[in-house]
Amino acid sequence: MPDFKVRFWVNEKPVAVETSPSRFLIDVLREELGLTGTKKSCGEGECGACTVLLNGEAVPSCIIPVGRVEGKYVTTIEGISQGESTNPIQEAFIEAGAVQCGYCTPGMILSATALLNKNPHPTRQEVKQALSGNICRCTGYKKIIDAVLLAAEKVSREGSSDQSGYNYLVGARIPRVDSSPKATGKAVYAGDINFPGMIYAAVLRSEHPHALITGVDTSCAQKMNDVEAVMTAANIPGRNLFGLIIKDQPVLAHDKVRYVGDAVALVAARTPAAANEAISQIKVSYQELPVLFNPIEAMAEGQVKIHESGNILLHRRLCKGDVTQGFSEADIVYEKRYSTQRVAHCPLEWEAGVALPTLDGGVEVYVSTQNPHYDRSEIAACLNLRESKVIVRQTVTGGGFGVKLDISVQCHLALLALKTRKPVKMVYSFEDHMKVSTKRHPIEMYYKMGAKRDGRIVAAEIKLISDTGAYASYGPSVVNRVVSHCTGAYSIPNIKVDSYGVYTNNTPSGAMRGFGVPQVTFACESHIDALGRQLGIDPIQMRLINALAPGRDTSTGQVLTESVGLQEAIKAVCEAAKWSPTDAGR
């Protein structure tokens, strides 16, 4: 209970907040003062999304106890926007195209403000140093650095910007239509939404990678103060399975768990702390099963089955021409194995949403998502509602990169909202994002290619084994796409590909920017580079010889006829990088 009054200045106005002095500044700003322009992300002071100015210094507000700001001056993104209008730094971010998802933007702008206040004419390197504590997952930083340098110019000019009514159409370099609310902190992300009487959800997750559930005891949790609802698989009115391609993942596991992170029970309570406390009071008994973490082992005969259908999710083949014939014609044959790691999407905004019951017995879900219409179908099936009674509204989304194509909070929140008839909110932590959400498929890749002495690749034999983890998610799309993309941007006459997606007891792998293609491109491009080196052919030349062009066919036998600008792209980068095919320095 509040036991302390902290007095400080926020955006030049004095505030007094009754709260514990150990509460973090970000929570006081967002929850007590309603200043949601300050964004919450890593919660460890590492990512910079929560940056505010404290007596003019840029600091991460997520690790500063509010007791430490007593008597000090705090400036948030709302404080540097003069009323409705943007200041020159915000304008520079908008104009330079430095705003994409916008979740890092308020923090970036405040770090930039602190820098420019001290050093009105920074160098590019000084800007980089000043922003090195602010992570951005979208922009690649270039346009952000450009924006700060542009802001320095604008500030020194002190003139108002000459935005002469932008009549930009197709082909024009145009600032985003949504960049102004993002640069001023006004954009409303899912975590920024609050409704009167809103309660909070938490999820009990499996601690075992593979086990049978032998019992779930929720009696203690049910009785706890502030708990509004406790739900298990038995309380699901509709289909307890979801998945875009194959419905193999339970909304709440009822008979077995397949990875550390499977959802087993839900709680809704009046505070997030009460919800988490109730989760810890639910007892689940398990009978452990043999575990499989390596896809090559998992696909072997006689292993424990993770799903009844078997451990091979999908096998796709490609056969073009005659590889045996192709290899027999080759002057050189080179084979090698490659592997890639599991990668996390890490949009700075983690999965989040709020669900409300509607007057017609349906449900309305505000969620950070890449596909609201798909979410609607899963929620409707899970709740046994007509799709027309389910409304899904995408909130301003702080990046996705594929992870928000999947169901995360959607069904859980909708279940709890219908059960309690109250608005329910859930925001993932970074830990949830890492442990529960899908990842990029690790792929084991075997490549064998044969080439003629003149550099023409005449045959390729490729085997790919993707670890799809505990559930299918977008695994079938990855397994399928890599088949046609694993020979890259090259026309090769004879190709044989076998692509497998294999279930394991790892975190599910799903969609991530490129659907497996960055992985196979690493293997393919390394392989062709090495092959060229063995033939004494320059990497550029090797590519120009084999690259797709109008009239050449792809691995699927599709003859490309139009809109094939690959050779031009190769020439453009080589010219810019001053790298000519005849470069003898290699």
């Binding site: 590492e46 990512c47 239509v177 075992h208 790691q341 990497p539 599709q558 809109s563």
Partner: protein
């Protein structure tokens, strides 16, 4: 120690290409949009496509403005709300500019049909000769003969004709044969080439990506600023995948659960990135456009890996290429892992 500091830093260049099919592989993947023109001449676009930061709202608004010949400030776009917008499918597979872009264009075309009919009568000009530009409808060869967009809209309403349009698009394809994987799974492919230049410190194994040159054939860059943003972001995400990022799971438990043990690229890891746009006009794309979201990232890890190989003379066959792996490769007589056999 032999040599100076400079001998410890090896510079290398690498190249990698991408050919990426836009939309789902050999499958239908439609998207739809509704458009309404209001009596004050403003345009409401309702599209299913979710903008997750990549910029589709801006691109779709540009396409609507260009098709109807109005200004960007006249277009108001609402997206990804199932109570209002039709299904746009997933924001994935680099598809929204191409697929939803076409849906918006087709919805606007429906409205143009009505506007053209009414303008033809109003101006007494054959509708084939009409131009829609800058909020005006005029005779292409005699621009003085014109009517303001807003006036035409009101004329339509006075005649009882409301200006609403809907459109949907799914890319044409030939399914892949399940036995041999042959077919035409995509209509549009985006292409790109990236060259990376790296510096490898052979004492510490540390890699710094110094410069990246990236050229992309996107068909038509509806918003070049957005295309550059996608490519610059893709390059650094690729550098993270090539050098830094790895989710470590031990016995099913994720060990990398904090920012201190899952490393993301910061601005200090960002190379000098130069983006070049190639335009090749895809006939089925809106104004010739294809897509760029994923192709932007695809060749980046490979270009960095090849640049490292150029610098140190060894191809590392496992991502991420950490300093430990580089040092181990440099220290071992040959880098072969001893399992270059069929899996």
């Amino acid at each position: 120690m032999p040599g100076g500091e400079f001998d410890m830093k090896k510079i290398g260049k690498g190249i990698a290409l991408v050919c990426f099919g836009i939309g789902n592989t050999g499958a239908v993947n439609p998207a739809a949009a509704f458009v309404e023109v209001l009596t004050d001449g403003s345009v409401k676009v309702l599209a299913g496509a979710a903008d997750i930061g990549q910029g589709s709202n801006t691109v779709l608004a540009q396409i609507a403005a260009e098709t109807l010949g109005v200004n960007m400030e006249d277009v108001h776009i609402v997206t990804a709300d199932t109570s209002m917008t039709p299904d746009g499918g997933a924001t994935s597979a680099s598809r929204q500019t191409y697929v939803s872009g076409n849906a918006v264009r087709l919805a606007c075309k429906e409205i143009l049909t009505v506007l053209s009919e009414v303008a033809e009568r109003m101006l007494g000009i054959d509708k084939e000769l009409l131009a829609f530009k800058n909020g005006k409808i005029y005779c292409q060869s005699y621009p003085k003969k014109m009517v303001e967009f807003k006036e035409l809209v009101n004329r339509c309403r006075a005649e009882g004709r409301l200006l609403v349009g809907s459109g949907y698009f799914t890319p044409p394809f030939t399914p892949l044969d399940l036995e041999n994987g042959q077919g035409a799974p995509f209509k549009a492919y985006s292409f790109g080439a990236q060259v990376a230049e790296v510096e490898v410190d052979i004492l510490t194994g540390k890699v710094q990506v110094l410069r990246v040159w990236a050229a992309y054939d996107v068909g038509k860059a509806i918003n070049p600023l957005g295309v550059e943003g996608q490519v610059e972001g893709g390059v650094i995400m690729g550098i993270g995948q090539a050098l830094l990022e790895e989710v470590v799971i031990k016995n099913g438990v994720t060990i990398t659960d904090s920012f201190s043990n899952y490393l993301l690229p910061t601005c200090l890891d960002a190379p000098e990135t130069n983006v070049y746009i190639v335009e090749s006009h895809e006939p089925t794309g809106p104004f010739g456009a294809k897509g760029v979201g994923e192709p932007a990232l695809v060749p980046a890890p490979a270009a960095v890996a090849n640049a490292i190989a150029d610098a140190i003379g060894i191809y590392i066959d496992e991502l991420p290429i950490t300093p430990e792996k580089i040092l181990a490769a440099l220290n071992s007589k040959d880098n072969e892992r001893g399992h270059e056999k069929m899996i």
